[in-house]
């Protein structure tokens, strides 16, 4: 549901709220699926999903919205209807792929949703022109990757958690440091202006 809503959302506050909701959902899924794990590993996963995905990342997104005073997606780019159609197509593709690819060792629902999340993230990056939306697309892909790791049944040893955390750290850095610098120096939030470095 959050993924479908992301495809039609116009306000950046909605994006930030949806990312927060996804963070809480992932926390719930992690608690339900991984309760058999060693307490150290489980607490690590809960902490990283709770602190980073559910609290810090949405908070930074909100702060960026306040600082840059950008509220809506750019008028250029695909319409909401086209975006919704693409999103539904992505859902169908994900469902079909899951049906044909997944074997008994894979949790089919998580696999399908993870695939759909990654496609939705890519659609956001490709269709929307604002850098902020690209950032949200990247975060959705990250959430998809997290869900994917649960879908394939690997019991997520501590190392994989560290890897995810490093990725989240990267997202936070990109959000916190770069959005303000891009806005300060390039004086726009439109990715079309990022065309100076080319051949």
């Amino acid at each position: 549901m959050t993924l479908i809503y992301l495809s039609i959302a116009e306000r950046f506050r909605n994006y930030a709220s949806l990312i927060a909701v996804q963070g809480w959902l992932l926390l719930g899924i992690a608690l339900l699926q991984l309760h058999t794990l060693d307490w150290l590993e489980l607490s690590f996963i809960i902490l990283e999903t709770l602190i980073f995905k559910a609290l810090i990342v949405p908070a930074i997104l909100m702060r960026v919205i306040r600082q840059t005073k950008i509220n809506r997606i750019s008028s250029t780019g695909a319409s909401q209807f086209n975006s919704l159609m693409l999103s539904i197509s992505a859902m169908v593709v994900s469902a079909l792929t899951t049906y044909y690819v997944a074997d008994s060792s894979i949790h089919m629902v998580f696999f399908g949703v993870a695939l759909y999340a990654m496609l939705c993230g890519l659609i956001l990056i490709v269709l929307r022109s604002r850098i902020f939306t690209h950032m949200v697309g990247f975060l959705v892909i990250e959430n998809g990757v997290f869900l994917f790791s649960m879908a394939i049944g690997v019991e997520m040893p501590l190392l994989i958690n560290m890897a995810i955390m490093l990725d989240i750290l990267m997202s936070v850095l990109m959000l916190g440091l770069f959005m303000t610098k891009v806005d300060d120096q390039i004086h726009t939030d439109n990715s079309n202006s990022l065309t100076r470095v080319k051949d």
Binding site: V101, V154, I160, V197, D199
Partner: protein
């Protein structure tokens, strides 16, 4: 053992952020390289070589070989950086050196990691360090390049992570150690294994500078200060190659190796094609050298793709390319000092301005184009002979055609720099010919390898390709 060194390297790098003079930066960077030299000495003389340190690092043949190359290139990069950045503020100066040291440390970790997740984590760490270096100039161009680098690398690395998860699923095991994975994946789901390889190759292509995510490496080399580009274009590219090569080796005992080679072949051909075409198109000497890296990495991927003696040639090509490309980027650092830019259609008359540098660039041109006595001549000849032995005449024709385009483009651009009338103002600094000589010495090392391949190197590569 390696953890002690990691702590020391990180401490030295972190201390560099807080020093209050350039002299202190010089002392710390000198100490940092000395630590690496001591570690390299321990590796071979104290017999650390081929042992495992801690749980996650093994000093295997390929890691040790690439590490030696890294230490050599890093030494030159640090020496050249001191001169290149001498006009920068102390704040920028010390931040650059600290990040450079962190980058070298992360690359070292990638070389020795024996666990697929550790490799992944450290490759992501290189993105963080490199991004700081790219933004060194604080201009709009560097900001844009840094943003793109962070964004594309993060997405690429996330894609690679998906591949790693699929590989773990196919192996049905929690251990992600390369050696253990190699035996486990022989019975894995072939579809998962195929998808995993494509995802990992796609993700790591941003580090190895091959198709499809090669563009970000080109932008990184463009934005970074030229000495750092020498490191990114060799040490970091080698790290990307190593990460892919270790995955390639995992599949050696599976039935999928033929399919994997086909994927590498396609990737290599497209990379070579892109490199050849963009060498003609770009108007910036640093981007020009970066496309040359894309072209050479394409040849290396083709070597892995055709298999047999091609794998040996690919390894040898990587070793020699490290010397050649780092030398050319360091020469470009001198060029920038003189012209204050890299615009191909504007700058020229280099032969009269800095004869040593111009001659070094022309020698570099001959060597990078694989004309004898270039060591690349040996590797490319081996790859071409393997294509003939495999009856892949179409591949030989395509490669020859694209290499002709490369030869034309590289000759035209380098000769332009040396002989076309200069249209830009010269930078009012004295030319430091010592740096041109210094960069030339790396090229001499490559030429020596072209004329004489030392037995230990041959033995080392033989061991690496025996799997």
């Amino acid at each position: 053992m390696i953890y002690i060194y990691f702590i020391l390297w990180l401490l030295v790098a972190a201390s560099t952020f807080f020093v209050k003079s350039r002299k202190a930066v010089h002392i710390l960077s000198g100490f940092y390289i000395t630590l690496h030299a001591i570690f390299a000495e321990n590796l071979f003389i104290e017999k650390l070589y081929l042992t495992t340190s801690g749980q996650f690092f093994t000093f295997d043949e390929i890691g040790s070989l690439f590490y030696i190359l890294l230490v050599i290139v890093a030494t030159f990069v640090i020496i050249h950086s001191k001169e290149y950045l001498k006009d920068d503020s102390l704040q920028d100066y010390k931040r650059y050196f600290a990040l450079l040291m962190l980058l070298i440390t992360a690359i070292t970790g990638v070389y020795f990691a024996n666990n697929i997740v550790i490799t992944w984590i450290l490759l992501e760490t290189t993105t963080l360090c490199a991004a700081g270096i790219l933004y060194h100039r604080h201009s709009k161009d560097t900001l844009e390049a840094t943003w793109k680098y962070l964004f594309v690398c993060s997405t690429g690395i996330a894609i690679a992570y998906l591949g790693i998860l699929l590989l773990a699923a196919a192996a049905s095991n929690n251990s992600l150690n390369y050696e253990e994975l190699r035996t486990l994946i022989t019975e894995g789901n072939p579809l998962y294994l195929k998808v995993a390889f494509v995802l990992i190759l796609t993700g790591y292509s941003c580090k190895m500078e091959i198709f499809p995510l090669y563009t970000i490496g080109v932008d990184a080399n463009f934005a970074a200060p030229a000495p750092a580009s020498a490191l990114i274009s060799t040490g970091l590219v080698n790290a990307g190659f190593l990460a892919i090569f270790r995955i390639y080796r995992l599949y050696a005992d599976t039935e999928l190796i033929g399919w994997i080679r086909s994927v590498m072949l396609i990737t290599g051909i497209v990379s070579l094609m892109v490199g050849a075409l963009f060498l003609r198109r770009t108007n910036n000497y640093k981007r020009f050298l970066s496309y040359s890296t894309v072209e050479n990495m394409g040849i290396i991927a083709i070597g892995l793709g055709i298999g047999g003696v091609g794998v040996w040639a690919a390894l040898f090509h990587v070793v020699c390319h490290t010397f050649i490309k780092s030398s050319l980027f360091l020469q470009m650092a001198v060029v920038r000092h003189i012209y204050n830019g890299y615009r191909i259609n504007r700058i020229g008359d280099y032969i009269n301005i800095n004869k040593v540098g111009a001659i070094a660039l022309m020698v570099g041109m001959v060597v990078v184009l694989a004309f004898p006595p270039s060591p690349l001549f040996i590797s490319e000849l081996m790859i071409l002979s393997q294509t003939i032995a495999d009856d892949k005449w179409w591949l030989m024709v395509v490669m020859m055609f694209l290499l002709c385009v490369v030869i034309y483009s590289v000759c035209q651009r380098i000769i332009k720099l040396c002989y076309q009338p200069n249209q830009d103002e010269l930078h009012p600094t004295n030319i430091n010919r010592g740096l041109s000589y210094s960069a030339l010495s790396l090229l001499v090392m490559a030429i020596v390898l072209g004329l004489w391949q030392p037995e230990p190197l041959i033995q080392l590569i033989n061991k690496i390709v025996t799997f």
